[in-house]
Amino acid sequence: MSFIILKNIVKEYGPAHALRGVSMEIQKGQWVNIMGPSGSGKSTLLNIIGGLDTPTSGEVFVEGIKINALSEDDLACFRREKTGFVFQQSHLVPYLDAVENVMLAQYFHSMADEEEAVGALTRVGLEHRLKHRPSQLSGGEQQRICIARALTNDPVLLLADEPTGNLDRENTKMILELLKKLHSEEHFTIILVTHDPFVSQWGERVLMMEDGSIKSDAPINP
């Protein structure tokens, strides 16, 4: 059975259709990029897979769990046990330093552990920025904290919504190389939304979305 299975996912916002019946499967450990024009439903799809949003109809299975049927608290539990999110706006807590931002994710998962948080930041190359607040860091550094935060609880699924959307080419490359390294070491599944054709070439598979549907689904040839 596939790691992720979507069956005819529909998401409506009032009369607007964000998703019009999306079905697909993703294998464990795969790196899938989602592309498509603005408003085509990429973020909506990503959020539904990650249990951050719920579909209007259809079924979502992750690791065999039918997450569209979970209660709100069970969904929260699913998110903290299985997923890690990275957003375009980093959504770091401004009054916490780098270590504390990572510790916040540990706190909700189980318990805050400074040593482990330092380890997570070291893996993303921020061992020299531990006590810096987000406002004292560059965009690329902020996104690396987000990656450390997303991965600190060893999720099986990393969801990234335009993680390099605010970065220049050099920082984009640095982030992608970091993700690639971590992905090859830890074999979590990545679903990454991007507008950037450069970014979409990383990974193993590209989904093209248009107007709430998947237009094309193709492997990337290395």
Partner: protein
Amino acid sequence: MRSGFYLFFKKSVSRRKGRIVIAALSVTLSVAMVSGIIGMTAGVGAKLGEELRAYGANIIVSPREGNYLAQDVAEKVSRIDSVRGVSGQIFGTSVFRGQPIEIIGLDIAKLKDRGWRLQGKWPQNNGEILAGTDLRSQFKIDIGAKMHLPGGDIGGDFVITGFIERGGTEDSALILDMPDAWTVTGADRQFSAVLVRAEAGRLDEVVQQIRRMIPQAEAKTFRQIAVAEESLLRKIQLLMVIVTVVILCAAVISVAATMGANVLERREEIGLMKALGATKAQINIFYRAEAILTGLTGGVAGFISGYFFTQAVSKGAFGSYVPVPFYIFFISLLFGLVISVTASYLPVRNALKYNPAVILRGE
């Protein structure tokens, strides 16, 4: 508490010091008002009871006409069955240093153990008197001061052995033992009033008997007087309850506005916490803790300012400090908590309903 809670709570609170101070201040003001009002009402109630107990009497006999009762009234009353004690009092005025001064004559020996606040000593001999505490500053006199009071044929010379404070008219009067008072007021062997202590269950009977025996005297139970005062007190209390409720509502609204702004500002944080897998309860606990902190801080500060408020008002209104019972402290804490927890309930509950996907999409 899960390890890490204190760290994040502390950071979040110190980040929002200003807001919390404002909220705590609203709580402080209203708790001060409320605890002041409760303290004052309780204090006045206690004072009223004290007033009645001060002479250990429950019936007062006074002249129906004229100013005085003959001394034999006291003797007659004391012969009634069920009467346990009788003491005559005389009220008059004299002059000291050119100013009128009130004189209360009574049996000073019977005053001891009645809970009068005394500075100095009880008079032992003729010519020794007590003064109300207000006279001390009015005439700049102290214990041991000598006073000449005119009256009768020759007047008398007296020494103050102590000052008393009762929060009543006594505080601005001189208190003389009976024979001295008779000398000064010239009302020899007569009383302005006779205070009677009768068996509690037979007060009405005793009153009727006094009225029959001594037609020139009016007898009333203290209860009759107290009931009139109590009904006034009860009206005041009702008014205070209404004022209290209004103040509490105002405080809840103002704290809710502050909390609402606080929560709105933290929408993104709430969305993030949800994305990190926090349950509503886990997020709620931060706000609940903040509300409790605000409530306790405001409650303590409110109690302290309420205490001084009460004292200032009661000194102004009643001429003496009222005792503030210690339980008011706990009531203050309770009110503080109720205000801030109630006020934060709705804003936080709404904030927890936010869909994280919508908040975090950001523009």
